[in-house]
């Protein structure tokens, strides 16, 4: 370092320790509470030392909230959403960056405006669309031809309903777009001179180059998909399709029942684990995805 600054260094360590307590402390409380008995977890003052009941509590939570089904569904949902986003946004970004057509501006703005329409503000009509997917198409046919057709497709209680409305992504599209724009023009020109058409250029040149981008996008989108709360809550009434975020309610101690928060904490620990692992193991990619997608 440029300077010897013992006091400032000590102060820096104090700050880092405070940050550690603040941000990691809650995890310590969750783990400690999840490994205690009902009496221990309700003790005042709280005992921060983990005990030996973790597996017992996790098993109890697993059964109480049927976490096997929920974890599987959340995994399926997060995977489909992630795959859909990574694939479709690459296609859209390709069409926005590499073609000489006025349509590309139109595509760009269509994607851009979705940033201003978060799910929470259009939740009821989105639900209505999912309940009756072909309504717009029916209306269009009736308007154009005057014929009333009765095709219906109901997405409620299905993986399609759980995932399709979440697949469109402005963030992902802009991440690819930005990356594509950093590539030298000569790349596409060289490919064209060598006789490759746009489709071949996309699959054989662009996609292999985008590997880093895809990995970064995959990590943030998996966490996003796993952590979805509101949409599954509306879409799913059939317990066979419920996700982990919906099981949270079932994990709460019954009102006026035994305050077995140890089981609740053990259950929420299980639910927190998959995205936590993704961020911990793939942190380099996760951070890269976050920082570059928000620019």
């Amino acid at each position: 370092m440029i300077q010897r600054t013992p006091y400032a260094d000590a102060f820096t360590y104090v700050l880092m320790a405070l940050g550690f307590l603040l941000l990691l402390g809650p995890f310590a409380v969750i783990v400690a509470g999840a490994s205690q008995t009902v009496q221990q977890v309700n003790a005042v003052p709280f005992n921060f030392l983990p005990q030996n009941q973790l597996i017992v509590n996790m098993t109890a939570a697993w059964q109480r909230a049927d976490l096997g089904t929920a974890m599987l569904n959340s995994f399926i949902m997060a995977s489909i959403v992630t795959f859909g986003k990574v694939a479709l946004s690459a296609l859209t970004a390709f069409s926005i960056v590499f073609f000489r057509t006025p349509l590309k501006h139109f595509f760009f703005w269509i994607v851009f405006i979705t940033l201003m329409l978060p799910l929470e503000v259009r939740v009821v009509p989105t639900y209505a669309v999912a309940a009756d997917l072909f309504e717009p198409i029916r209306l269009l046919i009736a308007w154009v031809t005057g014929i009333t057709v009765s095709i219906e497709w109901n997405l409620l209680n299905s993986y399609a309903g759980l995932t399709l409305p979440l697949v469109a992504t402005a963030t992902g599209t802009f991440l690819y777009r930005q990356f594509f724009m950093t590539l030298p023009d000569e790349l596409a020109e060289a490919a064209r001179m060598d006789g490759s058409g746009p489709i071949r250029f996309f699959f054989d040149v662009l996609l292999p180059l985008s590997r880093t981008n895809m990995l970064a996008l995959t990590t943030i989108m998996f966490v996003f998909g796993w952590n979805q709360y509101l949409w599954p809550l509306l879409m799913i009434t059939d317990p066979a399709y419920k996700t982990t975020m919906m099981s949270l309610v079932a994990l709460l101690p019954a009102e006026n029942g035994t305050p077995d928060w140890n089981v609740t904490l053990a259950g929420s620990l299980i639910i927190m684990l998959p995205p936590l692992l993704v961020v911990a193991v793939l942190q380099r990619w996760f951070v890269r995805g976050l920082v570059s997608s928000e620019k």
Partner: protein
Amino acid sequence: MDKRAVFRSWWLPTAFALPQLALIALFFYWPAVAVVRWAFTLEPPFGGSAEFVGLANFRDVFADPLYWNSVVVSLTFALAGTLSTIFIGLVLALAVDRQLPGSGAVRFLYILPYAIAGPAAGMAFRFILSPERGLMASVNSVFPDFWNPAKYGSHALILVIVVFAWKWAGYTFIFLLAGLQSVPKSLTEAAAMDGSGPIRRAIDIQIPMLAPTLFFLTVIMMTEGFVGADTYGIVARTTDGGPNHGTDVMVYRIVEEAFRGLNYSGASAQSIVLIGLIMIFTFIQFRFVERRVHYK
């Protein structure tokens, strides 16, 4: 957009973009049109087709004191959440950026809370900051009724802000650290040569150089506080908007009115107001990005 686009075709890009555009049309634009339609019409309670009522729905919404309550709650939530996440993130980023031994490990750890879903974190915090058990029970046993989010709306609001700050501090930290790393080393070194210590350098050089990042994060966090998916989840799973509407943020109120109150017109009118707000935030954000790109 300035890139020399090389391929000439109109149908091929359309085909490539179509899957995502179709999803956007179905699940974003079509519903958005419905929101606008509902906001200006009213469905008669005993069936029949909706009637155009002009701005009546907006008048009803604005005449409702509970609506203004949700505006105040949302504003408090977003402001307090933004300030605390940015403050924590900034202090930690400045500390980690000094690259003392061990800072690599804490840098890794600080990001972890961001992986946790808001609702899951909210439920854990219901225990951690519960009045009867967890950490605050000891305080309550000395000063009875010092802390009770189940009883006092203001305490509940503090609770949801704490959950929000806990989750998002790691996020602001990432951006501020990235910002600090792009501050030219020659600047801080020159200041050190002139005899200024780390704290003086932080205040006079590093924080001013971070101004664009700080501004950008303010906009992002305000948007997140007002309409973030996590905001809804945190409130729903931590306090259910209560007690006595103390944590009834605007998004929570919209979803509640629509699905519990079945008041689609009122909910849609509130949605329109919120969409207007997001448009303002997005506009500010992109104006700023333009400028930063320009000065680079």
